[in-house]
């Protein structure tokens, strides 16, 4: 019984951590963007304020059952994936369900949220949402290919589909996988650009053109939930990247301060990785959808293929 309680507590803490860090990262993104554009920009905790505003709205418009349920799907997707990614390398805290799922499961779970979002957007009846969904799904076919190539190359190289094992390898050998298979990293980070939907791949929710695409009919508490889910998901994706390529976090022992130190290390590493899509987004124009898809099928896929060949022959 105590074990279960422990686990649930750990899960809750993880979720809260993800939520907080994700929101802050969003705020940091807005701050950095503003500064680059020579503005002051909103404070870093702006996302929290936005969330409270959305929850406090006087009316919330619900577009049918799917529209009502869609934000929950995103939360489910984000939290489920969160549970299955190791937050810290060792230790009793934040262990969650890391031993119980592997990379293939994660690949598919990440899509679960988009699907829900798409369904909710579809029911709203706004053609802009539908167009946005169509673009989003098409783009997804684009960026998933190099991502899968990267992951497969790692699976081959280390003969495992579990993230735990990848982290263990990095921990034991002291070498980060980014150096063991750099092409995999290149393919993965390029596909991440698509996943984050910052420029140049933000045609999905292009605000001026599509009235924000899929989320155009979400408001009030629904939009708030979507935002929450999105933030958690951002954090999750970054942690995945860090765990796989940068050795994860939590290398400081299992005591309380060790855990805190591990978390700090995690936040720092994820922030550094986060800067990559942010900076690229700052300076890029927008690709059209087919350009985006073609882009992903060119160099990132080539890198992915090289990564696989690297894994097979080296």
């Amino acid at each position: 019984m105590e074990g279960i309680g422990f686990e649930i507590l750990g899960a809750l803490l993880t979720t809260i951590l993800a939520f907080v860090v994700g929101m802050f990262f969003g705020g940091l993104n807005r701050k950095i963007t503003a500064r680059t554009q020579n503005r002051v920009g909103p404070p870093v905790y702006q996302n929290f304020i936005d969330l409270m505003k959305l929850q406090a709205k006087r009316t919330n418009i619900a577009h049918g059952f799917m529209g009502h349920v869609a934000p929950i799907w995103i939360i489910i997707a984000a939290t489920t994936v969160l549970m299955f990614i190791p937050i810290l390398h060792d230790g009793l805290w934040f262990r969650n369900l890391t031993f119980r799922g592997d990379l293939i499961f994660l690949l598919y779970m990440m899509v679960f949220g988009s699907l829900g979002m798409a369904l909710g957007a579809g029911q709203s009846g706004n053609p802009n949402s539908a167009i946005g969904v169509s673009r989003g799904l098409s783009q997804m076919v684009g960026f998933e290919i190099p991502f899968v190539l990267a992951l497969v190359s790692l699976m081959i190289q280390f003969q495992t589909t579990s993230i735990q094992d990848l982290m263990a390898y990095q921990h034991e050998s002291g070498q980060w996988i980014i150096f063991a298979n750099p092409f995999a990293f290149l393919a993965a980070i390029l596909s991440y650009l698509g996943m984050f939907r910052y420029s140049p791949f933000d045609i999905v929710g292009a605000p001026a053109e599509l009235a924000s695409g899929p989320i155009s009919e979400f408001g009030g508490k629904y939009l708030g939930t979507v935002m929450t889910g999105g933030s958690i998901f951002t954090f999750v994706k970054l942690v995945l990247m860090v765990d796989i390529f940068f050795g994860g976090a939590g290398n400081f022992g299992t005591g309380f301060w060790g855990v805190v130190a591990g978390l700090v290390e995690l936040v720092v590493k994820t922030f550094i990785v986060y800067l990559i899509p942010v900076f690229i987004g700052l300076v890029s124009p927008r690709f059209r959808t087919e350009q985006a898809i073609r882009f992903f099928w060119k160099w990132p896929t080539v890198f992915g293929v090289i990564a696989v060949l690297w894994a097979v022959f080296l």
């Binding site: 418009i61 049918g64 009502h68 934000p71 119980r100 009846g125 799904l137 076919v141 009030g220």
Partner: protein, 615 residues
């Protein structure tokens, strides 16, 4: 009398009886057909046992029918899906013409499939295969008027090519190995790809055409889309699996011995399966008719199954067998959904209808569950199938690039999955669909039961794994251990599905509660016409649902892939042949004198060359 024979008799006599009773009273026809299949199914699951055998002699040949675990597994699909489809048919086919013909042919097809699966000698296999083919042909042309280059003829010609290739192989198995029994031929190495390689290749051709493998898949989209939907559920769900049944049988030697000749064949077949999966998917996502979309999707899904079979590994075969059952469940349900929409709303053309979710909520639920299963998203059963395929390709058979190709196809499948749901059920409602009602109960029940299968296998795939493992035993694999609720691969990584399922349900309930209860009084439910339209006002009768060229960007991006049109190649070949025949026919000039000249000229030739000919 033997159980198996009795079941066949029930089905065939039932078919004849149903055909004739239609002349008496139209309403009785559907009931009679349903009762027949119920009796047959009940009889089977009640009385038939593993190891039942029936040997008899027919015209100089000894035939053998029997039930091993491998057959038993497929009978689940055949009888189970057929029973549900016939239940669905009662309401779906109501009021249509020629019901006796329809149900008679339906029951004959089921009899044929049943016979194929229980055959343990090649002659019976061929006989039932042919019966199954022509009975389903009769159903494919059921909806036809006017078009002479029909999908039916395409179907029949391709099936015939396959069946006759199979017959050639059977004749030569008898010649080289002296037996017609499948088991004996197997043990004598008839399928070994090492000698007389054309025998397994011809057999694969026969089975592969039925399983719609590239490049012989061209009959499938038209045939699946044009046949009445209640039959297509069985057509796509069960009949195509007969091809899978055969391919698994042919490859069984290779699975155990992993000989070199078989390896090349399995690689070729695997890539053909992979290409089928990709091409099927990308053609599916540009369709505007929901039925054709599902048809192309079936072709793609069968591609996955073929890939699984050809890897030859434990996980691969399990993936194929598991997907066979699951595909029958979710595709059957989807075709039933399409049929329900067609019956209630009049058409499945997505450019003409939309927004049916409010009117047909249960149908939508079935569609949603089946689509999630098709896409392979956890926590439903489709994910297990996908997981098995990827693990098989990556961990066991080192076929990495094929894994990527399959993944590409799987990702693109999300596109048409969404399209199906969106096109029919979401978006704004069409004016004409104001009076559409939910599908009748007898149609909903089979759909819901099939969805239930999809759900339960997501959490407890062991329910399917165990019979499938026994089937693999019968094929020659060693005993394997399968967990009820978790998946594991040879590298030791596991995925625990029950935990995933529980977790998702808990989060869903919590989230739903929070989202609904919080701010309940402030929530306002609006219709689909009440949207933020940036100043443009919606007028009466307009429908702003985005349906045309839904995936145009993808089409543009993948344009080179779309240039490859297999259908056109076959059509051109057919036309060329017809022209050739038209020319050839002119030998018979119709002129008496010409014929006389033929005779005399032939005489002269024979007399001149007689020493060479007759010696």
């Amino acid at each position: 009398m033997n159980t198996l024979t009795i079941i066949l008799l029930i089905l065939t006599i039932g078919a004849a009886f149903t055909y004739f009773i239609n002349a008496v009273n139209h309403k009785l026809t559907a009931i009679s057909a349903f009762v027949t299949i119920t009796i047959a199914t009940g009889y089977f699951f009640g009385l038939a046992e593993l190891g039942d055998q029936f040997k008899f002699a027919l015209g100089d040949f000894s035939m053998q029918w029997g039930l091993n675990a491998f057959s038993y597994y497929f009978i689940y699909i055949v009888l189970g899906l057929s029973w549900l489809a016939l239940l669905y048919s009662i309401a779906y086919m109501e009021g249509k013409a020629r019901l006796g013909y329809y149900y008679g042919a339906f029951l004959l097809t089921i009899a044929g499939m049943f016979g194929v699966v229980i055959s343990q000698d090649f002659i019976s296999l061929f006989i039932f295969w042919e019966i199954m083919t022509w009975a389903s042909f009769l159903l494919v042309i059921y909806n036809y008027y006017y078009n002479i280059k029909t999908e039916g003829m395409k179907y029949m010609i391709f099936s015939a090519i396959g069946a006759y290739a199979m017959l050639t192989a059977i004749v030569f198995i008898h010649h080289y190995y002296g037996t017609f029994l499948i088991g004996e031929a197997l043990s004598k190495g008839a399928f070994s790809f090492n000698q007389h390689i054309f025998i397994p290749i011809f057999l694969l051709l026969g089975f592969g055409i039925k399983a719609a493998v590239m490049p012989f898949h061209v009959w499938a989209p038209g045939a699946y889309a044009k046949t009445p939907m209640s039959f297509t559920a069985v057509f796509s769900g069960a009949l195509s699996k007969m091809g899978i049944f055969g391919i698994a049988l042919v490859f069984s030697t290779y699975y155990i011995t992993h000989n070199a000749g078989g390896f090349i064949a399995s690689q070729i077949l695997a890539w053909m399966g992979g290409i089928t999966a990709v091409m099927g998917t990308i053609y599916a996502l540009i369709q505007t008719d929901a039925k054709r979309l599902l048809a192309y999707s079936s072709v793609a899904q069968l591609g996955y199954i073929v890939v699984g079979l050809s890897t030859g590994t434990k996980l691969g075969i399990m993936a194929a067998l598991y997907l066979a059952v699951l595909h029958a469940a979710f595709k059957g349900a989807l075709f039933m959904v399409a049929g329900a929409v067609e019956k209630q709303a009049g058409t499945t053309d997505m450019t003409k209808i939309s927004g049916l979710i409010k009117r047909m909520p249960w149908t939508f639920l079935v569609a949603l569950i089946s689509i999630i299963t098709l896409a392979g998203v956890p926590p439903l059963g489709g994910f297990v199938g996908k997981w098995l395929i990827y693990e098989a390709l990556i961990t066991e058979s080192n076929n990495y690039f094929l894994a990527i190709v399959i993944f590409f196809s799987s990702t693109a499948a999300f596109l048409y999955s969404y399209r199906f749901l969106f096109g029919l059920f979401l978006g704004q409602e069409e004016e004409d669909t104001k009076d559409v009602k939910e599908a009748p109960v007898t149609m909903l029940i089979p759909m819901l039961m099939l969805s239930f299968v999809s759900i339960i296998t997501g959490v407890m795939p062991g329910l399917v794994f165990n019979p499938a493992a026994k089937a693999m035993n019968a094929l020659g694999f060693a005993d394997t251990n399968w967990d009820m609720t978790s998946l594991s691969n040879i590298w030791g990584n596991t995925t625990d599905l029950s935990l995933i399922g529980i977790f998702i349900i808990i989060v869903f309930i919590l989230g739903f509660a929070v989202l609904t209860l919080k701010g309940r009084k402030k929530t306002k439910s609006v219709g689909t016409k009440d949207i933020s339209s940036s100043g443009e006002l919606w007028k009466e009768g307009e429908n702003w649902t985005f349906q045309q060229d839904f995936f145009k960007p993808f089409q543009r991006a993948a344009a080179p892939l779309y240039k490859f049109d297999m259908d056109k190649i076959w059509s051109d070949m057919g036309n060329a042949l017809e022209a050739f025949f038209g020319f050839f026919r002119k030998v018979y000039t119709g002129n008496g004198q010409t014929y006389a000249i033929y005779v005399i000229a032939f005489l002269a030739i024979l007399l001149i060359f007689k020493d060479y000919i007759f010696n």
